[in-house]
Symmetry: C2
Subunit: 279 residues, 2 copies
């Protein structure tokens, strides 16, 4: 099977390397407007050749769109214009908008909207890993608008990577990911800004930061170009959960201002309930 990866960064690169390792693809074609990323992807063995979008689509069986979501959405109609038997899927973190764009296209049946729940805070081809995705979930949205063979191929591919499928309406998907992914990134970015603002002694951050700080602030290293369109597109859901988060922080503030240890204990013990869900 010949795979085209559009956008050879963390996600696209990891997909290519992991599928090659599993022997599921014989040949990977890379499409990327970034010349440095093209060069790196060839050097690192992520892709076997670089082509233009048109050439790549004509030469492949499976096409992965792994660009930031705003780019994916602008490319999708062009890509669907060019496919006939090929299968196209994306890996984007929001789904309502791209599902809507696909729906309006005559070749909508060739496009599988997916969101593999895996990532790291690093970006670019050098961040790609050949053992990515294992034991994580992939969400497939609005499968009723997808051709049977296209859906089966993408499911088979994710299963080969060790992932399990969840099926969900795109609107519901965007609500859930605001809670369990997008808000974590916002708090982490804001925490980094807080500490950079308050702690002017970089040495102190470096020396004193224990593993707890590193784990809460790790996501703040995440790629800005990727996250701006995600937050913008999922604005309503993100604002909803962000407002709740600010009001939860204000409860902690109130418990300290009023010197109320019982209330603080109650807040922390409630937070501890997350243990039941995350082992």
């Amino acid at each position: 099977m010949r795979l085209t990866v559009i956008g050879i960064g963390l996600m696209g690169g990891s997909l290519a390397l992991s599928l090659k390792k599993k022997g599921l693809v014989s040949n990977v074609i890379g499409v990327d407007h970034n010349l440095e990323h093209q060069k790196l992807a060839l050097q690192l063995g992520i892709v076997d050749e670089i082509m233009s979008l048109e050439e790549a689509i004509a030469a492949s069986d499976l096409i992965a769109i792994a660009t930031p979501i705003n780019v994916a959405e602008s490319l999708l109609p062009t890509i669907l214009n060019l496919v006939n038997k090929q299968v196209v899927f994306d890996l984007g973190s929001t789904k309502e908008s791209i599902v809507g764009i696909a729906k309006a296209h005559i070749n909508k049946g060739r496009f599988v909207p997916t969101h593999p729940m895996w990532g790291t805070e690093f970006s670019g081809p050098t961040a790609a890993q050949d053992d990515a995705f294992v034991d994580k979930a992939t969400i497939i949205c609005n499968k009723e608008q997808v051709d049977k063979d296209a859906l089966e191929l993408v499911e088979k591919m994710y299963q080969a990577l060790g992932m399990h499928m969840l099926y969900m309406d795109a609107i519901k998907h965007d609500i859930h990911v605001a809670y369990v992914s997008h808000i974590s990134h916002i708090t982490s970015f804001a925490l980094a800004n807080t500490v950079l603002e308050k702690e002017k002694e970089s040495d102190a951050i470096f020396e004193l930061a224990s593993s707890g700080f590193e784990s809460t602030v790790r996501l703040a290293k995440s790629n800005a170009e990727m996250w701006v369109p995600i937050f913008m597109q999922n604005k309503e859901n993100v604002l909803d959960v962000l407002n709740e988060h600010i009001s939860q922080l204000k409860k902690f503030k109130a418990s300290l201002e009023k010197e109320n240890p019982d209330y603080l204990l109650e807040l922390i013990q409630n937070a501890n309930k997350i243990k039941r869900i995350l082992k």
Copy 2:
């Protein structure tokens, strides 16, 4: 050398196991009011015997206070009343208050105020690790009030565990840890409460939570009895940084409400600067 550990949980237990493994202590005496923890500590080989506080102090060379900080502070005068040549140190996360209590005692020279920058989100004797503390920093506060031999023994002990020392005034310590440790815990507790409040489908949290969510919310599992007195005691500094954090979150909120991707990009790119400090 005979070590007494008062409070045989995550910190005290890890200290005992790690020092035993390094061959630095021959015998560990445990003091704990929790009968279940006494039993577990003996079973797990963390301590060799359980004694009362008075017996334990009389029988040991080095005494570690590893209880929640409010308990440590109420015990310290009693402990200092009972020591003559012994060396006492604590492992607490705030330092101004306990340094003040020590200062008022005639045996203040026997007490070394320390804060090893290591921990996990788990608690109790079963959370103890025999390879803890390695490559982390230990802060020693107000060493000018400590006897030379007492300071040297505690430094030697932490060095044997693979730690490096930082020396700091207790007031400055409490400010720094509010930035690089306490605020991380508050955001993580508040994030857990946010998600538990908004996401009523536990299955969705479990299935969709990727490693990013797990790392930001990990600290929310931390022990409430340990953290309430820390936050209460470091109230002023924690409120200062918490107010800054809420205002940083409000900037993200404003960028979304005003649909201003340039401002959002600026906020995220500023957060990315944390890369320079944390690799």
